[in-house]
Amino acid sequence: MKKLVAVLLVGLMLLLLFINMFDGSLEFNKMDLADVDGNYYAKNPIVSNMVTSVVVDYRSFDTLGEVTVLFVSSLGVAFMLGGLTTRIKFKHDDSFFLRIGVKVLFPIIVIVGVFMFVHGHLTPGGGFPGGALIGGAMLFKYISDSKYRAKISAFKVLEGTMGSIYVLLGIVGILVGNYFLQNILDIGELGNLISGGLIPIIYVLIGLKVGSELTGIFDHFMNEEV
């Protein structure tokens, strides 16, 4: 059943790609790539953070590739260290001050991370650093408490769901618009929180995905052989 669904999805994807490839209405048939330089992006910003408008709108497909690279590395860590289940033991006991300090700091770090990927199209930052901050907050939890285990299965479900939604948004771009990952929503006013069409949505997806992936990697690194 799973294989059938996978084959059907891949077939649908290839079909759409072929249809689009020989379709005359495709945008990049007409575009002369030699004319597009850095000034083109600077003169036509989608959102007020120009880096984000390049990374998540003009070059969104590259970002999908980057997310895939992180996914593959997390897969590799799980493949190599997945058999280990015992939590690594520190020589010292848990420090009281570290534990309480992490309890205070944990929500602040998580909120900064969430702020970073929600405001990724307005201020410096974005999905990757925001997600990495959330992963770092989970790392603090692991270091401060020698018995702490995160619910890794829930994080894995979150990670898979977010990655699938990103790819599905790209396919919706083909169906509704012209090309993969086209920004089909209304761009709105420059500088507002709700603007930029798909960009905030994609950054929230990337942030949650990167955060859960890094948490999975940390959990695997915290295990040892018995």
């Binding site: 880096v51 690594i88 020589k91 930052g125 650093p129 901050l133 790392l139 890094l214 690194f221």
Partner: protein, 105 residues
Amino acid sequence: MSLQLGLQIALGVIMVVIAIIAVEAKKIISSVIYLSLLSLLAVVGFVLMSAPDVAVTEAVIGSGIVTFLFVFTLIGVNKQTAIKEDSINDLDVHTISPLEGGDIK
């Protein structure tokens, strides 16, 4: 020469010196910490070059997560070596104890 250019040149010189120290360090753990310091200085460099996006990413990943991964990989390797050879005295890496402050038994 403007102040910013002077700062950038000084920063670059310090970074090169720290990189050489990281390569030449006797213990592997000191090498890892010098690499973390190098990333921290790179953050300052990125801010001076007005690239705050890259600076934020470098601060979180370069000096935070990569250091953690190196340190815990070293702990894991060290424990396995200790189990296999039953003696860790002739290895340079035997004093890796960033969190414990002593030898790993």
